[in-house]
Symmetry: C2
Subunit: 204 residues, 2 copies
């Protein structure tokens, strides 16, 4: 695709670097911006650059924050003795949108994955262990993806904190709501039978 | 979706204004940028803003250009007596990527569409008529979408230049290459029969 202007070509190349955006989509986005006012496009560019430049991470849970401590950690109405461990910021957003969780978080920034060269030292594990000791955390709830790497991470952290009086739990694995039994994989189905619940607990 | 930072929220809102990008995709793009270096994201924002601020339009054909006259118009190897009339810049890019057209262009900036409040005065029609008279154009090739509005635009411009010694043509309408006869609409099929070609011309 030959473009009639290098300015256009540069802008298209920048958009095409984003995940899931090819050169054709990038061109569509750039031509859309071209129809907008100069100030509007200026504002777009500045907002994005400012976001990256000024954004902070919570000193306590490593979630995105506007200040030193994020709004979730600063909220005294939440259970500060219950920490949910997640892989990344997206998971925090997903859990928050259920509006069912009332504890606080700890963002690891990834999971242990030796094949990808990610070891425990690159993750926010040390700060988690320190937090649990200092804050007298009562429960650590792991909400990691159910993969080998996720399970390895849980196992590693559990070993690190076994001397502390903190209960360790993980979110339930099982058949998804609205899922079909016959299409579930054997592992999930087997685990959901092994970890069966009394019906009273289920419908509560 | 509740986001943990207003900076993040603003950036997501800006991306979500783009066509075909919803709030979830916008969040994915912003979180991707968040993993990049500050300078890289700064460069992204500046490139896009600079594109809108500095881009020029060719004085002659209204195509995008880096200077007063676009590269196509300035190219003396192209047939300067053959003007292809298109609706927008995207059409120029589409035709250029066929590498089969050797004339120059005229970008109308839209088509006549009274229902959308677009009349001839909002389009680059006057400059087209002036060009044809001044440049001694020999052929005007319409490459507009085959809609009522497209046909109206062709009819209007043709009336305006009927006193000039310029041949007026339009790109062929017919069954698309690789298309299936049985699924073609009646209008297209009827026209492709009415405008049938000698086989010699077709395979040439």
């Amino acid at each position: 695709m030959q473009l009639p202007s290098t300015l256009l070509e540069n802008a298209v190349a920048e958009f095409a670097k984003l995940p899931g955006i090819g050169k054709k989509t990038a061109l569509r986005l750039v031509l859309h911006l071209l129809k907008k006012e100069v100030e509007e496009v200026q504002h777009f560019g500045e907002t994005v650059a400012k976001m990256r430049r000024d954004i902070r991470f919570c000193n306590r849970c490593h979630n995105i924050s506007d200040g030193d401590i994020c709004a979730t950690c600063a909220n005294t109405m939440r259970n500060q003795k219950l920490i949910c461990v997640v892989e990344n910021i997206r998971d925090v957003i997903a859990i928050e949108s259920t509006q069912q969780y009332n504890g606080i978080y700890h963002v690891l920034g990834g999971i242990i994955s030796p094949l990808d060269g990610v070891g425990p030292d690159q993750l926010n594990i040390e700060s988690l262990v320190n937090r649990i000791g200092k804050e007298g955390t009562e429960e650590l709830l792991f909400a990691l993806n159910p993969t080998i790497q996720g399970d390895t991470t849980i196992y590693y952290i559990q070993k690190k904190i076994q001397h502390l009086p903190c209960r360790v739990t993980t979110i339930a694995r099982g058949i998804a709501f609205g899922g079909e039994l016959e299409f579930a994989d054997e592992m999930t189905l087997a685990r959901s039978i092994a970890n069966r619940l009394p019906v009273q607990q289920y419908v509560k």
